[in-house]
């Protein structure tokens, strides 16, 4: 069962209340870990001819079961220990890879900022990368030209826009990636640990901009370890553990429980 990204325009009026921005129904995600994966054609051919068995692999379920509905305009956070499946869930929603089982439905334009600006080509300059990224998100030449100054202003990396991205610090990369994402004005915004990087001033600007985004009806899904920021931004929190949803509900309630469990364990 595949990932279905329905690029419907935003629903208006009473219909919007019924439709969800993102739906994960019965989602399971399994990855295979290979002790030794066949990486050359040579090996593959030999193996086939000599009728050797395929290399041993073990299955790891990053997501055992995920049922999640995010309504339009909601602001939610995924929290949990490392390896609990939060980032995998985000990537599934972003359509990076399909779920092993289950169905994911996305209604509206979705932009995800994952992996600290990994969407950039290191050899290209910041400016070139912004244009390429924007084009990859589906913007036309004119739209890119219109939004470009805003991106530059928000990222605030000055002359570095004309420097190849490989010379950027991770903070600069994140700022640029986030700037493009937020200026793209998507219907749904996914952020993976983005808010952790960057100084106070940047974080402040991010929060302000995200508040504006939320007020305008944008849907926000973040993964973060920064619980304080989550309390500021999000109304609902989903606590994931071992690839399943352990608890979901009002932000403060879930976060209190999460923190309590963490201090018990530590």
């Amino acid at each position: 069962m595949a990932h279905a990204a329905i690029a419907e325009p935003q629903l208006r009026g009473p219909q919007a209340a019924r439709a969800n921005a993102v739906e994960c129904v019965g989602v399971v995600k399994r990855f295979y870990l290979y002790e030794h994966r066949t990486t050359t054609l040579q090996e593959f051919a030999l193996r086939t001819i000599l009728r050797r068995p395929p290399p041993a692999r073990s299955a790891t379920f990053q997501i055992h079961r995920l049922d999640l509905c995010v309504a339009h305009g909601e602001s939610i956070a995924l929290v949990g220990a490392n390896g609990s499946g939060k980032s995998t869930a985000l990537r599934l929603m972003a359509g990076i890879y399909p779920p092993t089982e289950g169905r994911i439905v996305v209604r509206g334009r979705l932009v995800a900022v994952l992996e600290l600006g990994a969407t950039f080509q290191p050899e290209l300059t910041g400016a070139e990368n912004v244009e390429l990224y924007a084009a990859a998100l589906g913007f036309s030449r004119r739209e890119i030209a219109v939004r470009y100054p805003e991106v530059v202003a928000f990222a605030d990396i000055g002359d570095f826009m004309q420097v190849p991205v490989k010379y950027y610090s991770s903070g600069m990369r994140t700022r640029l990636a986030f700037a493009v994402a937020i200026c793209a004005d998507p219907d749904i915004l996914l952020l993976d640990e983005v808010l952790a990087v960057g100084d106070e001033s940047f974080r402040g600007r991010c929060l302000t901009r995200l508040a504006r985004y939320h007020a305008a009806g944008g849907t926000l899904i973040v993964v973060s370890h920064d619980l304080w920021t989550i309390r500021q931004l999000c109304s609902r929190v989903v606590w994931m553990e071992n690839g399943e949803v352990r608890m979901t509900g009002e932000a403060n309630t879930v976060l209190d429980a999460y923190e309590a469990a963490a201090s018990r364990a530590g």
């Binding site: 595949a2 990204a5 990855f31 066949t38 990486t39 050359t40 054609l41 040579q42 593959f44 990537r91 972003a94 359509g95 990076i96 890879y97 399909p98 979705l110 995800a112 994952l114 992996e115 990994a118 969407t119 950039f120 080509q121 290191p122 290209l124 244009e131 390429l132 990224y133 084009a135 990859a136 998100l137 589906g138 913007f139 036309s140 030449r141 890119i144």
Partner: protein, 256 residues
């Protein structure tokens, strides 16, 4: 798939421009340099096939140029497409977009080069070989479409395979070279014994090249069977190739 591609046309055009820029930005002579290489090869091939082997083809140079660049286009397309997904892993890993765009950008970039070369070839043939413009040349756009379909059909599965197998990029040039000998690149179709000719033409590359020779070198309209047959073969290869690519596409982000 097609509406998806239309939505991403801006990305596609940027990737094509970037692909072409990267090839030429470092060379002083630019495009002229990429012409000199095949030109030098053609001179040597004419010397070998016309003067040494004495292949017996009238105005061998005209025969050779009418198909050689078409063959080179296929070679280059497959060669550059092989690495295109892994080269752009930064996109595949963190963005949801049709990876076919990457392969297509590679094909289109090589097509731009080929069309420029073809323009020069056509002019040379019109002036020095036909001394006029044969009507058959009007079919050129049709042949090019068939040609591009074939290129896509070959490039897609190879690009997908290269994601999983590191040595595809090395194995491909070898395989292509062999395919080149089984197609009328250096020798005309007429030299292939009649009883083998039908099987020989089942090789879509051979069929397309035969078409080019007919309309460019011979200056006559190709037989409808050759035209339709080639179109069918190219379409089949394209459909299968793209199909194979799409089957593996979901796994790209997990492997890279």
């Amino acid at each position: 798939m097609l509406p998806d591609l239309w939505r991403h046309r801006e990305l596609l055009s940027r990737l094509v421009v970037r692909n072409l820029k990267m090839r030429y930005q470092r060379s002083v002579l630019g495009f002229v340099w990429t012409l000199l290489n095949p030109l030098a090869t053609i001179v040597i091939l004419v010397m070998v096939f016309h003067y040494i082997i004495r292949i017996g083809v009238a105005e061998y140079w005209a025969f050779l140029v009418s198909g050689y660049f078409a063959w080179v286009f296929l070679q280059h397309t497959v060669a550059t497409s092989a690495g295109v997904i892994t080269d752009h892993s930064y996109m595949t890993r963190s963005l949801a977009f049709p990876a076919e765009i990457l392969v297509l950008s590679s094909v289109l970039a090589r097509l731009v080069e080929y069309l420029a070369e073809l323009a020069i070839v056509v002019v040379a043939l019109v002036v020095f070989h036909h001394h006029g413009i044969p009507v058959s040349m009007l079919l050129l756009p049709v042949i090019i479409v068939i040609h591009v379909l074939l290129a896509i059909g070959l490039a897609m599965p190879i690009a997908a395979a290269a994601v999983f197998f590191k040595d595809v990029q090395h194995a491909v040039p070898v395989g292509l070279m062999m395919l080149g000998y089984l197609a009328p690149v250096y020798y005309p179709l007429s030299l292939v014994p009649e009883r083998f000719r039908t099987v020989y033409l089942l090789n879509p590359v051979a069929a397309v090249l035969a078409l080019y020779h007919e309309i460019l070198y011979e200056g006559r309209l190709p037989s409808p069977m050759l035209l339709v047959g080639s179109a069918a073969l190219a379409t089949v290869v394209c459909v299968i190739g793209v199909g194979l690519f799409r089957r593996q596409r979901a796994l790209f982000a997990e492997i890279i």
